[in-house]
């Protein structure tokens, strides 16, 4: 059952990801991206990380993508215009992509040779309690540094977007 669900949602995620690139309209691309986020959330859920799954949907599929869609609608971005692809891209694009993926797999294999296979349901640290405890004990410094970083980004955005009052 777990494996079937994993396959279904992994395939949906990959198809949606391809669709993000293939679609010519920005709204369609953005919605495919939501599909990717949603299926990723289901994959997290299958792995036993229910809090991360919920956060994924709330933050990425909910908040971030709503802003994307909002901006696309507001700017009324039209369809992408296709120009002819260059000869190099047409010939070398697919082989180079496959080579890159192959290299990634090879290095993953080299770096973690004896890594155990993932077993569904084996991981138990995904509850809100466990995540919270880890964040505020083991990963306190990275957590705080990240929040300060985000705060700086927000301030920067405000400073950049502020109109001069004159």
């Amino acid at each position: 059952m777990d494996v079937i669900l994993f396959l279904v949602f992994a395939i949906i995620a990959v198809l949606c990801a391809i669709n993000v690139v293939v679609q010519t309209h920005p709204i369609a691309s953005a919605l495919s991206l939501i599909g990717v986020m949603g299926s990723l959330a289901v994959l997290y859920l299958l792995l036993g990380a229910e809090f991360i799954a919920a956060a994924q949907v709330i933050v990425y599929a909910g908040a971030v993508m709503v802003l994307f869609v909002f901006v696309i609608m507001l700017l009324n971005a039209g369809e992408e215009v296709h120009r002819g692809r260059s000869f190099v891209v047409q010939v070398l694009g697919a082989p180079l992509l496959i080579a890159l993926l192959g290299l990634l797999v090879y290095f993953a294999q080299r770096l973690f040779p004896g890594a155990p296979m993932v077993r569904f349901g084996a991981f138990r640290g995904g509850t809100a309690v466990a995540v919270g405890r880890a964040l505020f004990t083991q990963y306190l410094l990275p957590f705080e540094v990240t929040s300060v970083l985000i705060l700086i980004a927000i301030l920067g955005a405000i400073v950049l977007a502020r109109k001069e009052l004159d």
């Binding site: 709204i27 919605l31 939501i34 229910e50 809090f51 799954a53 919920a54 956060a55 949907v57 709330i58 599929a61 909910g62 908040a63 709503v66 802003l67 869609v69 909002f70 609608m73 507001l74 509850t127 809100a128």
Partner: protein, 396 residues
Amino acid sequence: MDFLLLSLIKAAVVAAVLLTTLAYLQWVERKVIAHIQVRLGPSRVGPHGLLQPLADVIKLITKEDLIPPHVNKFFYLAAPFLAITMSLLSISVIPFGSEVRVLGQTTWMQLTDLNIGVLFILAVSSMGVYGIALAGWASNNKYSLLGGLRSSAQMISYELPLSLAIASPLLLANTLSLRELVQKQGGFEFGFLPRWNIFQGPWPQIISFLIFVIAGFAETNRVPFDLPEAENELVAGFHTEYSSMKFAAFFMAEYANMITVTCLTTILFLGGWQPLFPASMGSNLVPPVIFVLAGLVALYHGLNPARRKDRFTLPVFAVVFFALAAVFLLPAAREAILPLFWFAAKTGFLLFVFIWIRGTLPRFRYDQLMAFTWKFLFPVAVLNLLVTGLLVALVP
């Protein structure tokens, strides 16, 4: 196999009850607003207009399903589907009552209990924005687009105070599961004050409650925050180009969202299915007394009819109310339906408040709406959460 069968039966029952409630909420709203405005409201179809929802459904189904030529067809068709799915989905984690025994089976009056129940509802409701935003965009109409944009901006803005207000009762209860949230609110302080979150210290939770309800009004696009469909500026907002069942889908989504928000308020702040005062002080007798009184009022007006047909319809209602009162006095049935009664009573009262406010308040201006949430509601919610967190940590 038992589990599967039981779940299917429960899902069917919940869906049937929910859809009937959706239809009749519409009737209740029209009646209440009519009486606020000193009118009679729907009264032609059936006694007191009680068959009006049925007539509306038949009208909506048989209407011509028009797809305007200038729309983006795929998204135009997907939007109402998305809106209604997301708004009906969140009912699946709402606990309506405590454990019941039916035909030898013990089960909870809840479809499923997730240990991230609150987050699930937040996630699903945040996905509901896409239905409205897409409807506005795909209609290819400036009024629809403005409605959709307004609605998505409004929902993002009000989701912040909403989530912050939810966090305070969660701090008190220390759980994310909706069932456990209600269980933690059982019992009474000093023998009479219920341990509902709204009455709980150390910091008065009535503030979180008010923030949550205000943000809930905005999330469901209800008056005074119904800017996305402001008739005088935007025709009908995001659903201008929709007709027939697709329009009905948006309508149902709005009412389903209303029911979700009121259920969530009941669970988070008003103790879910827990009674208002202890059974030793006679809280078990509240439903029969209410139904007997309602029956007596109906009987009185039936015997002194204002209109001719009241002479027949109102005594029938009186008999129905007396029968309900009798059911609540049966010991066997009481165990199961008393929690359900308290839950329905609280949710029903909140729904009435929603309708009451619609009949009372005017609509905000758009800049007022945005200024209100960003300059007032959000800071207050942050402060409220900080103080609650601090006091919960300090006071053991």
